[in-house]
Each structure stands twice: as structure tokens, then as C-alpha cells.
């Protein structure tokens, strides 16, 4: 590399560093990639919990197990029932709404998965 070219590169380096910093600032902070058309699986945990509670409530109204399963599979295609049981147990432990737990317990039962903790919620109306 000629002396002149080396000199030019040395002069360009601060600009490149500045540009890189600017690029990071724009790409991660000022103007990040905007996601739209997302799926329920990437919802924040509290929204995911609320989604499961609503699926269980909707099952009470629609009585459509296939539909409920399809909705849960959007969160976990492998073990949709486990999501319901796990949330129901978490709500029981946290002293959550009896109505919500009952809906979850019923849906879990319909999906063929329940635990001894949830059995009391299967009896009688919510």
C-alpha cells in the first residue's frame, strides 16, 4: 500500500467508527426492525397467560375442544395441555381467581391432562 493510500485509510477510520456507532444507534434504538404479523407464541409472558385463560373461558362458551387445542398449539405445538395445567397450578398457588382456575381445570381435563391440585375445581359450577 502506498504511503498516500495508507494515509487516506487512516483518515477514513474515524469516519467509519463514527458511522458504525451511528448505524448501531439507528438499527437498535432509533429505528429498529419493526415486527408485525407476529404469532401468539412470541407474546410477552403475561399476555400468554391471559391468552390461555381466555382460551379456557372461550371453551366454556363454544365447547369446541378442537378450536381450543388449535389456539393452544399456537403457543406450544408439542404439549398444549401442559400449558393449561401449568398455568392453573400457578394460579392456585398464587390464590388466583376461582373462576379462571375452574375454566382452566375443565379445559385441562377435556384435553386429558389434569393433576390432583386441579381435581377440586372440576366439581360444580365456578
Amino acid at each position: 500500500m502506498s504511503k498516500r493510500a495508507r494515509k487516506w485509510v487512516v483518515r477514513a477510520v474515524p469516519g467509519a467508527v463514527l458511522g458504525l456507532a451511528l448505524g448501531f444507534a439507528i438499527g437498535w434504538w432509533l429505528w429498529p426492525v419493526q415486527y408485525t404479523n407476529t404469532a401468539p407464541s412470541v407474546l410477552r409472558q403475561d399476555y400468554r397467560d391471559d391468552y390461555i385463560v381466555m382460551v379456557a373461558a372461550a371453551y366454556e362458551v363454544e365447547e369446541d375442544l378442537g378450536q381450543a387445542r388449535e389456539r393452544l398449539e399456537l403457543l406450544d405445538s408439542e404439549e398444549p395441555a401442559a400449558l393449561v395445567v401449568e398455568l392453573a397450578e400457578r394460579l392456585v398457588e398464587a390464590g388466583g381467581s376461582t373462576e379462571d382456575i375452574t375454566h382452566l381445570a375443565r379445559l385441562a381435563w377435556a384435553l386429558g391432562a389434569t393433576t390432583s391440585t386441579l381435581v377440586p375445581y372440576l366439581e360444580g359450577p365456578p
Binding site: L20, W28, Y35
Partner: protein
């Protein structure tokens, strides 16, 4: 002068190269991670299903504030579209009147209107249950709808953050806490009419307890996406208590009578008449006869 220009050129070219590399890295190689999103970012069909779930949950718990919180941040247009579609679908499927009343109450509270809900507006109804109560004083927490606070870094100026749905200022109509009443009418005849040259239609005859035609009764015909209203006795040629509607094949109709408006007949379709030898196939109409219940049979 030329030395200064050369230095500036090097700086600018370096800046451009650096900026390009930075953007390629942050947008292409390591973009903001897709986690912790919120309902407003869902794909349209998932977003509509979220709204449907909110409405169906409202049917079970009657908690309007919870429903509003769950819908917070979603466009009113989406909310209206999804709830209208849900009500129309449920009305056409002949779902229980109680469910439709709850959906209608939610729609009204959210300033959403659709013809299919007209029948269920301002009709006697039972009050939605109080927001989920707990049977034990120790069970006090419930899953509260998350607050729409996106955790994705968002542009402060170039990208609009999700704006909360405008809260309707309408005060929900107080609901009378009476048990869901039985329809004052009962279906006594549903007959397919096969007459050549007739336009497919649905005839309704409303009679009183003694079987006399009853004029001035409002009859509703509902279908996915619409509803029509007729009053008996306005076509004397049909006799007392008579009203009719034009109907189309391939549509599922539901029929409701009177102010109460509970569908008495659901999934009513214009179908072909039984084939007759040597005759053109006909589309049959329907004749529906309903009779007012005598007071002692009403609940």
C-alpha cells in the same frame, strides 16, 4: 484547499461505510429479538382471534373493565370487525340467547353495532355476573390483563407507538336483574312450500293462544351479516298474523319473534323441493307458524 477536501472525503467515505456496516449488522445480522410482543403486533387473523377470545371471556365473567383492558392498544376498527363477525356467526348458528345478549352488551359498550345484534338490544335480560369473585377471602388475585407496555425498543418519533383504543364515553345500560324469560311464542309448524313460479321466501304466521292470527307483531329474520324486520298484518292477502321475507338459497337464516327476539328457528335454509318426475326442480319456501304461549305456560 485540496488537502482539506481529501481529508473530508476520507472521513465521509469512512462514515458511509461504517454506517452501512452498522445497519447491515443491526437490521440484518442481529436485529432486535422477537420476544415479549403484545396483541397489537399479532397477525390480523390472530389479532381478531384475540378479540374474539376477549368477547367470549366476557360472556363467562361479564367483567367489562377486564375486557376493555384486554382490548387496550388495539385498533377500534379491528375490535369492531371481530366482534361484529362473532355476533353474526353466533346469531346465524342459533347460539343461546343469553350468550348473544352478553356479546351484544359488550358490543354496545364498545360502540360496535351490527344488524344481527338489533334483536338483542334493549330486551329483557339477566344481568351479567359480577366480576369474578373468589370463594375464599384468601383467593384474591386474578390474572389481570397485561398493560400494553411494549418491551421492544421503539422509535420515539418515526414509529407511532400503539395508541390505546378510544374509550367510549357511553355509560353501559343498566341491566335488569331478572331471570332470562322464556320466549312468549312457540313454534308449532315449519313446512316447506313447493309451488311452481314462486320466489323463494319465508312466510311467518303469528297466532295468539286461541289460534287467531295476531297482527302488529315484530318478526326478525337474521342471517350472517344482516337482519330484516317485518310486522305481521301488513299484507292482508296473507291473512291475519302474516308476514313474509324474501330469501336466498345458501344462506342460513334465524327467525325471532317479538320484542324478546330470541330465535325460535335457526339454520333455516332455502332448499330444493323433493324431485318430481318430469318436473323442473323447484326451490322451496318456508312457512313458519308460531303461537303465543298461554300465560300459565310461561315462566
Amino acid at each position: 484547499m485540496s488537502r482539506v477536501s481529501s481529508r473530508q472525503a476520507a472521513l465521509i467515505i469512512g462514515l458511509v461505510i461504517g454506517l452501512a456496516l452498522g445497519l447491515v449488522y443491526t437490521w440484518g445480522i442481529a436485529p432486535v429479538e422477537l420476544v415479549n410482543t403484545y396483541p397489537a403486533l399479532l397477525r390480523t387473523d390472530y389479532r381478531w382471534d384475540w378479540i374474539r377470545l376477549v368477547a367470549l371471556s366476557y360472556v363467562t365473567d361479564g367483567d367489562l373493565e377486564r375486557a376493555r383492558a384486554r382490548l387496550d392498544g388495539l385498533e377500534q376498527e379491528d375490535v369492531a370487525g371481530a366482534i361484529q363477525a362473532l355476533i353474526e356467526e353466533h346469531a346465524a348458528a342459533g347460539r343461546p340467547a343469553g350468550t348473544l345478549r352478553r356479546l351484544t352488551a359488550l358490543a354496545e359498550a364498545l360502540d360496535v353495532y351490527t344488524p344481527a345484534m338489533l334483536v338483542y338490544l334493549h330486551t329483557p335480560t339477566s344481568a351479567p355476573p359480577a366480576p369474578a369473585s373468589t370463594s375464599s377471602p384468601t383467593l384474591t388475585s386474578t390474572i389481570l390483563p397485561p398493560t400494553p407496555t411494549p418491551t421492544l425498543p421503539r422509535a420515539s418519533t418515526s414509529t407511532p407507538s400503539p395508541t390505546p383504543t378510544t374509550k367510549p364515553t357511553r355509560t353501559p345500560r343498566p341491566l335488569t336483574p331478572t331471570p332470562t324469560p322464556l320466549s312468549p311464542f312457540q313454534l308449532i309448524q315449519q313446512e316447506q312450500i313447493c309451488e311452481p313460479g314462486q320466489t323463494p321466501h319465508i312466510e311467518v304466521v303469528v297466532r295468539d293462544e286461541r289460534g287467531t292470527g295476531l297482527d302488529g307483531v315484530v318478526v326478525w329474520l337474521m342471517w350472517p351479516g344482516g337482519a330484516d324486520r317485518a310486522v305481521t298484518g301488513l299484507k292482508p292477502q296473507g291473512g291475519a298474523g302474516y308476514a313474509d321475507f324474501d330469501a336466498e338459497p345458501g344462506v342460513s337464516y334465524a327467525l325471532g319473534i317479538g320484542e324478546l327476539g330470541m330465535p325460535l328457528v335457526t339454520d333455516l335454509r332455502i332448499e330444493s323441493c323433493p324431485a318430481r318426475k318430469g318436473k323442473e326442480p323447484l326451490l322451496g319456501s318456508w312457512r313458519i307458524v308460531v303461537k303465543r304461549r298461554s300465560p300459565e305456560t310461561e315462566m
